[in-house]
């Protein structure tokens, strides 16, 4: 199969960035059609919404648990407010495209939530969620072309990165460990 110049450039850049992490670069695949791209973007937006919905449900449970300090409880409520606004925007974007949005998860189905018992475990749990959110948004950015939606996604991604900073500081981790914050693919 012939590789287009665009695919070659994308693969070269991915290799450069992947090299920074020591990960293997993936070979270039065939370019998706416009319809495939639309479906990939919708799938990525749905995945991002699912993570943001999980954040909302989990942070509310953690903030109401009584296990955290006053300061960390306030932090969780602040993150909750931001992520609720992200979820609202994603929901509107999906509904405008005629996509059925996912149903928010129940607390009992959120993996790791039951293990949160203090400030540090709350931070570690939330770091994993926020990294998944950034990863989901990265996939959406790859397949989106709408400039307004890209700007909204970038805004939510950046704020989730800032969530990561305060959570990493709470967990006594390096706040900005990488020059390229890609998160984790959900």
């Amino acid at each position: 199969m012939r590789t287009t110049r665009r695919q070659a450039i994308g693969a070269a850049l991915a290799a450069t960035a992947a090299g920074a992490y020591g990960a293997a670069a993936r070979p270039a695949a065939a370019a998706p059609t416009n319809d495939e791209r639309r479906k990939l973007a919708q799938s990525a937006l749905t995945a991002a919404l699912r993570v943001e919905q999980t954040c909302v449900v989990a942070y509310e449970a953690i903030a109401n648990s009584g296990h955290l300090s006053v300061r960390t409880t306030a932090l969780m409520r602040s993150l909750l407010d931001d992520d609720r606004q992200h979820a609202t925007q994603l929901l509107a974007a999906l509904e405008s495209q005629g996509v059925q949005p996912p149903i928010p998860p129940r607390r009992a189905t959120i993996r790791g939530l039951g293990a949160v018992h203090d400030d540090r475990s709350a931070a570690v749990f939330a770091i994993a969620l926020e990294e998944r959110a950034v990863g989901a948004y990265s996939e959406a950015v790859r397949n989106l072309s709408d400039a307004n939606l890209l700007r909204t996604i970038a805004g939510a991604m950046g704020t989730d990165g800032q969530h990561l900073v305060v959570l990493r500081q709470l967990a006594a981790r390096v706040p900005v460990p990488s020059a390229f914050e890609r998160g984790i693919r959900p």
Binding site: R6, L13, V141, R142, L150, A154, G161, Q169, P175, V176
Partner: protein, 158 residues
């Protein structure tokens, strides 16, 4: 990919590259006014800005363009504020980072190459993270708004 699209991406990336060169020059000045943890952060951030510049320059080359070289530091410094204290330096660092976030946000909708758009987004997030650390050093809220790029456009706004 068409030649026009490649040239368009190279132009957008070259503008971002010049932005990164300016950030590197700015942090060199900023670091001279900081101590302790804030200085350590500034050093880490300037190293990350160099990584951004390196990746952008490689991408411009891969697109068939010529990466914009850094201008003399004095040329960038002409546009910098006069720094009298650590607080001035941190405020300037915040300006540098918020300017970078805005530049990457504007660029995302103009980049045609998928992989480059993802890398640009990953840099935007890192710049937002830098801003959050600086905000903390300034004693200000570290996550000041739900969207770092400002409020999303409203569908019913004329």
């Amino acid at each position: 990919m068409s030649t026009a699209a490649a040239e368009g991406d190279a132009a957008v990336l070259n503008a971002l590259l010049d932005q990164e060169h300016s950030s590197i020059a700015a942090y060199t000045l900023i670091a001279g006014h900081l101590r302790g943890a804030a200085l350590a952060s500034a050093r880490r951030f300037v190293a990350q800005e160099r990584r951004h510049a390196d990746v952008l320059a490689r991408a411009v080359g891969a697109l068939g363009g010529t990466p914009t070289p850094p201008r003399p530091t004095a040329e960038y410094a002409q546009g910098f504020p006069r720094l009298r204290s650590a607080r001035d330096a941190l405020s300037f660092a915040l300006d540098v980072e918020t300017t970078a976030v805005a530049a990457y946000s504007d660029a995302l909708g103009k980049i045609a190459t998928d992989g480059i758009r993802v890398t640009a987004a990953s840099i935007l997030v890192t710049e937002a993270e830098h801003a959050s650390v600086v905000l903390g050093d300034l004693g200000r809220p570290q996550v000041p708004q739900p969207f770092v790029t400002g409020p999303p456009p409203q569908a019913d706004t004329p």
